[in-house]
């Protein structure tokens, strides 16, 4: 388990123990955290699991694949700290990660 903190747009904070190997997106879906739609189911084919990663975590995350950056062009209000949460696989290294969920996904 690794602790992932999801800050939702309604200013609520959800600290969740997510099983290693799941994605940050799946951690949110399984725990009914609002704001992540994940329409394509984790296939990097939509941009509805878009999150903003807390700045200090940006460099600690695995680099984006090309497809992820392309999809982020389609995200709602993308920023420099935008990631697709379906591409972030939970591991010991991600223990303590904090993400903000945008006000909407589309």
């Amino acid at each position: 388990m690794a602790k992932i903190t999801y800050h939702t747009h309604d200013n609520k904070t959800h600290k969740i123990d997510v099983q290693k190997g799941l994605t940050v997106m799946e951690g949110a879906i399984q725990n009914d955290i609002p704001g992540i739609d994940a329409d394509c189911g984790g296939g990097m084919a939509c941009a509805t699991c878009h999150v903003y990663v807390k700045e200090e975590w940006l460099d600690k995350l695995p680099a984006k694949e090309d497809g992820e950056e392309d999809m982020l062009d389609m995200a709602f209000e993308p920023k420099n700290n935008s990631r697709l949460s379906c591409q972030l696989i939970v591991s010991d290294e991600l223990d303590g990660l904090e993400v903000n969920i945008p006000s909407k996904q589309g």
């Binding site: 739609d37 329409d39 394509c40 189911g41 084919a45 939509c46 941009a47 509805t48 950056e69 392309d70 062009d73 389609m74 709602f76 209000e77 993308p78 420099n80 996904q105 589309g106």
Partner: protein, 338 residues
């Protein structure tokens, strides 16, 4: 009024295969889709990406899969209604009366919703005042390009649509192309062309900028764009175009009295019927314990839903289980001559 046994909503792989299954058991159907072509997510999201988990097909692209499914249902001469979104359903005694966005009407015995994650709609700008100008001087798709002649157009986006239109309109208009990063997702040749046009002064490229605000009374007059580092530029614009791809919205399906759970429709696993008799849901849009969002699951669901439709379409007949290898009736329906 189009009278047919079953209306399929959604021309993705699941909807197409369900049409095949209906045809095999002797039911007629017509298909409605919001997009301008069949294929659904396979065509819209990943036409060129290989799929490796279609049974007995080691590798095929979304486009190949779609073309093969269309070939497979060819014998049934199924009528497609593209660019149409189903808006209204009304129960009319034992049948359903259905109406689309374009006013096409259907009289059907059963409905199969194979709508993926909903209908594809253009992704819009997040800036609030955009709504006010939408359809007048701000567009997410182009129907009549002649209105842009000799005007100043600001195009936002970095994919093929944004690049293609920037290149094309640069011949007759002053074009600003604004994109949030230096990289583009469009094809490399278009990216090169855009950079060339920018170097020649035939197009103004702004990268690492996003829309900040719009101003104008009835029509857009200028658009403010903001750089990653905070700098704001104001550029004169007669028109603004946004190409951010498509997003899927459930839309009117929400109003049909179906049990909806997290953007999906709950079904039973016996025949994939919803809580409303005569309305079935298959593919990505349906949910049940253990649901897998795989194309192959959609095929299975479509086969069972088709049989579930039978009692509504032919209440006085009994459906017999048959194999296509040996069933004369099925082979006749497929137009196979021996």
């Amino acid at each position: 009024m189009n009278k047919t046994d079953v209306l399929i909503i959604g021309a993705g792989p699941t909807g197409l295969f369900c049409a095949h299954q209906l045809g095999i058991i002797g039911l007629s159907c017509e298909i409605v889709d919001n997009l301008d072509k069949a294929g659904g997510q396979c065509i819209e999201l990943y036409p060129d990406k290989p799929i490796y988990d279609i049974p007995a097909v080691p590798e095929c692209t979304g486009e190949e899969l779609t073309n093969n499914l269309l070939k497979q249902i060819k014998p049934f001469n199924i009528k497609f209604h593209l660019n149409e979104r189903v808006e209204e359903l009304k129960k009319n005694q034992n049948r359903w009366h259905v109406k689309t966005s374009g006013g096409v009407e259907f009289d059907v015995a059963a409905i199969v919703i194979a709508g993926g994650v909903g209908s594809f709609e253009p992704r819009k700008f997040s800036v609030k005042e955009c709504e006010k100008f939408e359809g007048g001087s701000l567009f997410y798709s182009i129907k009549d390009k002649s209105i842009f002649k000799d005007k100043t157009i600001s195009i936002f986006g970095g994919g093929d649509s944004a690049l293609d239109w920037a290149i094309e309109l640069s011949n007759v208009s002053t074009v600003n192309l604004i994109h949030r990063r230096d990289g583009f997702s469009g094809v490399e040749s278009s990216v090169q062309k855009v950079k060339e046009l920018n170097d020649q002064g035939k197009l103004n490229l702004f990268t690492k900028y996003q829309m900040d605000s719009l101003s104008g009374d009835k029509q857009i007059e200028s658009v403010k764009i903001k750089h990653d580092e905070g700098e704001i530029k104001e550029i004169k614009s007669d028109y603004v175009l946004g190409f951010f791809g498509l997003i899927m919205q459930l839309g009117p399906i929400l109003d049909w009295g179906l049990n909806i759970n997290k953007k999906t429709v709950e079904v039973n696993t016996k025949n994939f019927e919803t809580n409303v008799s005569g309305i079935f849901a298959i593919g990505d849009i349906c949910s049940y314990p253990g649901k897998l969002k795989l194309i192959l699951s959609g095929f299975h669901e479509g086969a069972l839903a088709a049989r579930g439709c039978f009692k509504y379409a032919k209440p006085d007949e009994k459906l017999r289980f048959e194999f296509t290898t040996t069933s004369k009736a099925a082979q006749e329906r497929l137009g196979i001559k021996k």
